[in-house]
């Protein structure tokens, strides 16, 4: 069969196989290690940051990189490096939790639509059509505007705006899997719907979901930074990369380092996730299996 069937007793083998093929792509490995590094930074921010992120020192404002402040200071004399390290926390949280929300809601809706078909499918997918007819960035902005600023609201706004993407993918895989013989076999031996969905359909539609989620974390972080940039995300003084960029913007003529470093942090993170997602797509492609 063409479908990459991951049986539970073979799971480790399949996982190793994917990792093995992922290793062949240096760009994907760069992405993988950068994300690990970033996660490490975010978790141990309290230890790693040389200064508290909120400590202002106006006598040190606008300092360029030095031994004391490795990446310089911002308009309030706060250490940019420390703020970037704490910012990683926000960005990764927003990225992963927003995708988690989108994946959970979209996955459930898509699985239900694909599995039950007919009326349920129609109703769910028409609602998804409505959401898809608003461009994703705009949808996130509209939701964020209604909910108001804040970390939690930001995650919800970014997450909900991505729901249709996952609903579509999961529905597609479910539809193609539904008619397969091993599903019929499971049904024949009396497995319940929920059991069939969770034990058979979801594991077998993992590959496209993993890829989409990886790329989804990238676009969630990007969207969140964009929302913060226009003032709809995290509120000061908590450091968020998009907000830092936005704050440094007015000083760009004289102190470009205020905007350069946060932007670079965003870009490298997105780049790493995109490389990883692309590499995963190739590694998980059953067509390439030899």
């Amino acid at each position: 069969m063409d479908a990459p069937v991951l049986k539970s007793n073979k799971k480790r083998g399949a996982l190793m196989e994917v990792l093995f093929r992922l290793k062949k792509s240096p760009l994907a490995m760069f992405g993988f290690f950068f994300i690990i590094f970033l996660a490490f930074t975010a978790i141990f921010a309290d230890v790693l940051a040389p200064h508290p992120y909120q400590r202002q020192n106006l006598s040190h404002a606008f300092e360029t990189p030095s031994k004391q402040f490795l990446l310089g200071t911002d308009e309030f004399g706060r250490d940019i490096l420390s703020r970037l390290i704490y910012g990683a926390r926000v960005s990764l949280q927003v990225g992963f939790i927003a995708v988690g929300i989108a994946l959970f809601a979209g996955g459930m809706l898509g699985a239900a639509a694909g599995y039950y078909g007919g009326w349920a499918d129609n109703a769910i997918m028409r609602v998804m059509d409505v959401m898809l007819s608003i461009p994703q960035t705009l949808l996130a902005i509209a939701i964020a505007a209604a909910l108001g600023p804040g970390l939690f609201n930001l995650m919800i706004a970014v997450g909900i705006s991505a729901v249709p993407n996952y609903a579509r993918i999961v529905r597609g895989s479910v539809l193609s899997l539904r008619e397969m013989e091993f599903i019929e076999a499971a049904r024949a031996v009396g497995s319940s719907d929920l059991r069939i969905i969770t034990k058979h359909i979801i594991p077998n539609s993992m590959a496209p979901i993993i890829v989409q989620s990886t790329l989804g974390v990238a676009s969630a972080i990007l969207n969140a930074a964009g929302l913060s940039f226009i003032g709809l995300g995290i509120q000061p003084p908590y450091p968020e990369w998009g907000a830092m960029l936005s704050g440094g913007r007015q000083y760009i003529r004289d102190y470009p380092h205020l905007t350069l470093y946060p932007g670079l942090a965003i870009m490298l993170t997105i780049l790493a996730l995109n490389f990883l997602g692309d590499g995963l797509r190739d590694a998980l492609d059953p067509k390439l299996k030899r």
Partner: protein, 309 residues
Amino acid sequence: MIRYIVRRILFLIPVLAGVAFCVFTLLYLTPGDPAKMVLGEMATERAIQEFREREGLDKPFLMQFANYVYKAVTRGDIGRSYVTKRPVMDEILAAFPATLKLAAFAIVIAIIIGLPCGILSAIKQYSIFDTAAMIFAMIGLSMPVFWLGLLLILLFSVHLRWLPPSGFDTFQAMILPSLALSAQSISMITRMTRSSMLEVIRADYIRTARSKGQKESVVIWRHALHNALIPVVTLCGLQFGQLLSGAILTESIFAIPGVGRLMVDSIKARDYPVVQGGVLFVAVAFSLVNLLVDLLYAYIDPRIKAQYK
């Protein structure tokens, strides 16, 4: 074909009604009293009461929604701005040309750069050019538009002093925003053109064309490109739709008076009718662009055209 178009347009109506409902509900749930927003905090209780009756704000939720849709459809009236007190539709229509111009410029740049890069990458697969193009495309995809915009301003306006950092009146002023906005689309078009070309180049009919004794350049241009472009055209259309809305951040960086900046300003000022109208307007524009793309798709792919006859 005409029946197909009509069917597609009819199909749009429930979707847009859904959009309107969502947007209206979002606004309804947003904290803040519209009457106070319009009349100011100092308004008398009587004035507020009168306003609520006049605007139908005392009616139940669904009645208000029906009223909103009725006025939108019959008179194009989607409310008044809390801030300027002008009709929202006027505000949006005044801002839309700038957005449209920006998106059009950006998509043209994206096609001019992305298409040749994608084709060349595919023809010279695994060459240095291909590798470089793919890495640049990935960087372009990962570049936040607001950061790229700032970098462009820093380089071309602050350091080199070649181009103005803001505004949208002159051709020079349009270059930086269009470039910043097009980066993502360039990358996507390059990647899509490449993968589509690679798939087509391996197709049997390309071998047939070669077996006729056709020149390689003609094989690529006449046989491969036409087939490879079919999915790319769709992508370009979708990208154009995205650019219409993606312009929000670009417009706010370059101070371009378009729909995006209007919306950002309105969000900051809690001018919700404008936000609501803006979302609705962009959704309509986006859906219409997508419809046009589907029609264009049918036009360039005879297999699809046959289905709609």
